[in-house]
Symmetry: C2
């Protein structure tokens, strides 16, 4: 139970970088730094160091292209997001992801399209129940 395969959960700054890699695809340190959109507020070596740590943790893979490294998220966003949700469910909702979902839906005005997606999922769960 809770075998927890895969890399550890990303920290705050790591998650922000993963977000860039998920939307941009494989990127260089420079690419990531630009995409973070902080201008010069974050030093180049800060992003580099983070990616090196993430590589050591198994959160990203990297490949050498001539002299620069190209980094990519090790897991698809879905899997990491699921692990993050499960973690929060465990820590704050007694392990119930459904109660977490309930709280998420009741908290904010969601857009219609997104609610429709939730309804579709519920319908599918119904169908698969039997």
């Amino acid at each position: 139970m809770t075998a927890r395969r895969g890399p550890p959960l990303p920290t705050g700054a790591e998650l922000e970088i993963l977000g860039v890699l998920w939307t941009r695809g494989p990127s260089t340190v420079r690419d990531v730094r630009v995409a973070l959109g902080r201008g010069q507020d974050t030093a180049y070596t800060t992003v580099l160091k983070l990616l090196q740590i993430m590589h050591a943790k198994g959160l990203v893979s990297r490949e050498k292209s001539s002299r620069t490294h190209i980094y990519a998220a090790a897991e698809p966003s879905e899997r990491t997001q699921r692990r993050l949700v499960d973690d929060l469910a465990l820590r704050a909702f007694g392990g119930s992801a459904a109660r977490l979902a309930l709280r998420a839906l009741s908290s904010r005005p969601a857009r219609g399209a997104e609610l429709a997606a939730v309804r579709a999922l519920l319908a599918r769960l119904d169908r698969e129940r039997t």
Copy 2:
């Protein structure tokens, strides 16, 4: 926007203590320590220090009963949970709590009663839509 009133988000250990206070109601340090269920693995002063820090942060209130303090969660669980969910939505789901909910529901086999609650909520949202 994102005005973030109220105390800061609880950390891991703080959240565990809040869980105890939410289910047990106002409790002494000793009560909390016992309810954590770690036996002697955690020192008394560790729980005390945490509660002192949480009091300074505004996460818990306390009241003096003779010589001991009685601690209580400053916010109801619903509010803190909502803030935690909103935080995760912001950091990992582009700010969309609905997409977070979708991931939560698709990740795990939920119990029927919980799914029913989600359906009821969606129905209510429908009704309020107009």
